[in-house]
């Protein structure tokens, strides 16, 4: 029976697929856990940083800093932060779609747009379609603050040198394991700081500033860019693995369903084969008995 053999082969194949998806699910789960710990570890740094930056921004008229300079946005740059690897559901494609929409809107407004892809998926997608610069791929398997510093190093000098006028960062904001929201953050000119965080009155102490408030702010603003970029990196990495976890879990479940229905079919076919054979034998004996 050819059909029987075919079904059997199919079942084995689906079994193997399930093994792979299950293993990938487990790998993604452990990576997700690591990424989540990273996100949690970063929080105190980010919170403390914002506290100090805001209290500083309240005391200093920061308008003069080059990173806060508002110019007519003729040329803009967009960082699109995707993951390096696929098989994580709509994680990257949703973001890429959002990026394309964003770019189209900006172009309709008559802006010149350059794209900075971070992550291999985004780079590969945009490579032939859009003007890309400073692409960075294969970065998420191992990264730390230095990567954020490098990316800032790509974007800060040209902004200060007025090579472009605005910078946006598009990334998947991490909401929970299954939900990632493509979001847009304007990096340059930096939005006014100080109003975002409420500072407790007792934190607004009179500090001695070393060096002066202005010089300190000058130093802290680039660090603020690092913080924003690093946060996006960490959230992307957590989101990617979370999305892969969910995708692989669904795939495993689909495999199980498929195996079940195939097994049922297999048994049915086998049974009908046996019945047919039995009928043959019975028919044969009857014919013999008559003869």
């Amino acid at each position: 029976m050819a059909a029987l053999k075919d079904i059997k082969r199919k079942i084995t194949a689906v079994h193997k697929t399930r093994q792979i998806t299950r293993a990938m699910n487990m790998v993604a789960a452990s990576k997700f856990k690591a990424a989540q710990t990273r996100m949690e570890n970063f929080r105190p740094y980010a919170v403390k940083f914002m506290e100090v930056l805001s209290s500083l921004a309240l005391r200093v008229d920061a308008k003069s800093h080059p990173l806060l300079a508002v110019r007519e946005p003729k040329r803009i740059r967009v960082i699109c932060m995707t993951s390096d690897r696929g098989l994580c559901g709509g994680f990257n494609s949703n973001l890429i779609k959002a990026t394309e929409r964003f770019i189209r809107e900006k172009m309709l407004e008559g802006r010149e747009v350059e794209l900075i892809p971070v992550g291999r998926k985004g780079r590969d997608f945009f490579r032939k379609k859009t003007k890309t610069i400073n692409a960075r791929a294969d970065v998420f398997s191992r990264f730390d603050m230095r990567l954020a510093v490098k990316i800032s190093g790509d974007v800060i000098p040209p902004f200060v040198g007025e090579e472009y006028d605005e910078l946006y960062l598009l990334y998947n904001e991490f909401v929970n394991v299954a939900v990632h929201r493509p979001s847009v953050v304007r990096l340059f000119p930096l939005p006014s700081i100080g109003r975002e965080v409420e500072i407790e009155p007792d934190k607004r102490l009179d500090y001695i500033y070393e060096p002066s408030e202005e010089a300190l702010l000058e130093k802290l603003l680039p660090m603020y860019v690092h913080v924003l970029i690093y946060r996006a990196l960490v959230e992307t990495s957590a989101g990617e693995n979370g999305a892969r976890m969910v995708a692989m879990d669904n795939a495993t479940r689909n495999c199980e369903e498929l195996i079940q229905s195939l097994t049922l079919k297999y048994n049915k076919v086998r049974q009908s084969a046996i019945t047919a054979e039995l009928m043959d034998i019975v028919g044969g004996t009857e014919a013999l008995a008559k003869g």
């Binding site: 740094y45 070393e210 060096p211 130093k219 913080v227």
Partner: protein, 135 residues
């Protein structure tokens, strides 16, 4: 315990250190400074350099990368991009980084935009070596 000072060293990766110490020495941009309990409130930027503190009369050293320090009477919070304890430093890597930076530095003129970057890399490597070397 009353005369102790709480120190927190926070990096993006983790809380590198949190605990009570007797004294902290911080590599500020305007020069190194020491902090004891009761110090006036201070906010200072921190440079690449050696941060050290004493606890039970034992000195612990860290190689830190830029950031800032917030000092209040009973607490010091140091936010830096990296902080490595002296016994965690990879000497071999630091030595290689130093050689690389020195090589590059010899090749380009002082006016080059990258010069500053390389100078900082060299500084980081040398700091690491110094901090680790004192063990």
């Amino acid at each position: 315990m009353a005369d102790e000072l709480t120190l927190e060293i926070v990096t993006p990766e983790r809380m590198s250190f949190a605990g009570a110490v007797e004294e902290v020495t911080i590599p500020g941009t305007e020069g190194e400074f020491g902090v004891l309990r009761g110090h006036a409130s201070l906010l200072s930027s921190v440079d690449v350099g050696e941060l050290s503190f004493t606890r039970d009369h034992k000195k612990t050293r860290y190689a830190v990368n830029t950031g800032y320090a917030e000092v209040t009477a009973s607490k010091v919070t140091v936010l830096v991009e990296t902080a490595e304890r002296s016994d965690m430093i990879d000497l071999e890597r630091a030595r290689q980084a130093k050689e690389r930076a020195e090589e590059k530095m010899a090749k380009i003129p002082k006016e080059d935009a990258d010069f500053e970057k390389i100078r900082l890399a060299l500084l980081r490597a040398v700091t690491r070596l110094n901090v680790a070397g004192k063990n």
